[in-house]
Amino acid sequence: MIGNDVVDLVLARKESNWKRKGYLDKLFTASEQDLIQNATNQDEVVWLLWSIKESVYKAYQRIHYQQGFYPIKIAVLSLNLQDGKFRSVIELFGNIFYGESQIVDQIIFTIAVQNKGDLDKILYFDQLAYIKNENGLPISADYKKPISVSHHGRAKKIVGIKQNHF
């Protein structure tokens, strides 16, 4: 299962003031707030963590459809920078997810999957015809495979997992 999210940092700075009182407490666990406080670029870490949570939320909808606003329950357990990619491990309702994020030209791109090996099988689409399944989640029009779509500011990404016939 896959979920993705993009954050255009230029737009995020205009749209949201994460420094406002109470903001971080609603979104981030204590250990995530520690990561933010200790970061040299706090702005980047706030939106990096946020994009990881959004990606996991989307991936989780494929396992168990549960709409709602529960960012604080999506816990980023670890976050490490390796070879230019931020790798994360995330927990939600007892499920473990693996995230991979990159920051290019002030845009954060994140993908989250449940099977770690799927991170090596990501398909990127510039254009893809897709429809919505019974829960309103996107699937490819041709093979009806789950895909994830994210759009923010200057960035738009459509991703899927490489499988037979896809």
Partner: protein, 84 residues
């Protein structure tokens, strides 16, 4: 506060974050902040914080989870006000 009073107070809080003006003009109890009004989910936190301030209530995480549409938001505000 009754439903109408809450809606009147809620509208100006929500408005700055709306990305679908038509859906906002045709607001109903079933209107969803994310899927209908196209509000960025990171801005849902702003709405929640503004609601806390405007209605002098505290919205716990469990209630926040359900605060995705007008109907639930009204119910949460009424419940929290009754608890005071």
């Amino acid at each position: 506060m009754n439903r109408e009073e809450i809606i009147e107070k809620l509208k100006p809080i929500v408005e700055p974050f709306v990305n679908d003006e038509e859906a906002f003009a045709n607001l109903t109890d079933k209107t969803n902040f994310i899927t209908d009004l196209n509000i960025n989910s990171a801005n849902l936190v702003d709405i929640i914080l503004d609601v806390e301030d405007a209605f002098s209530i505290v919205i716990d995480n469990e209630s926040m989870e359900k605060m995705t549409d007008i109907e639930n938001t009204i119910a949460i505000i009424q419940t929290k006000q009754a608890e005071k």
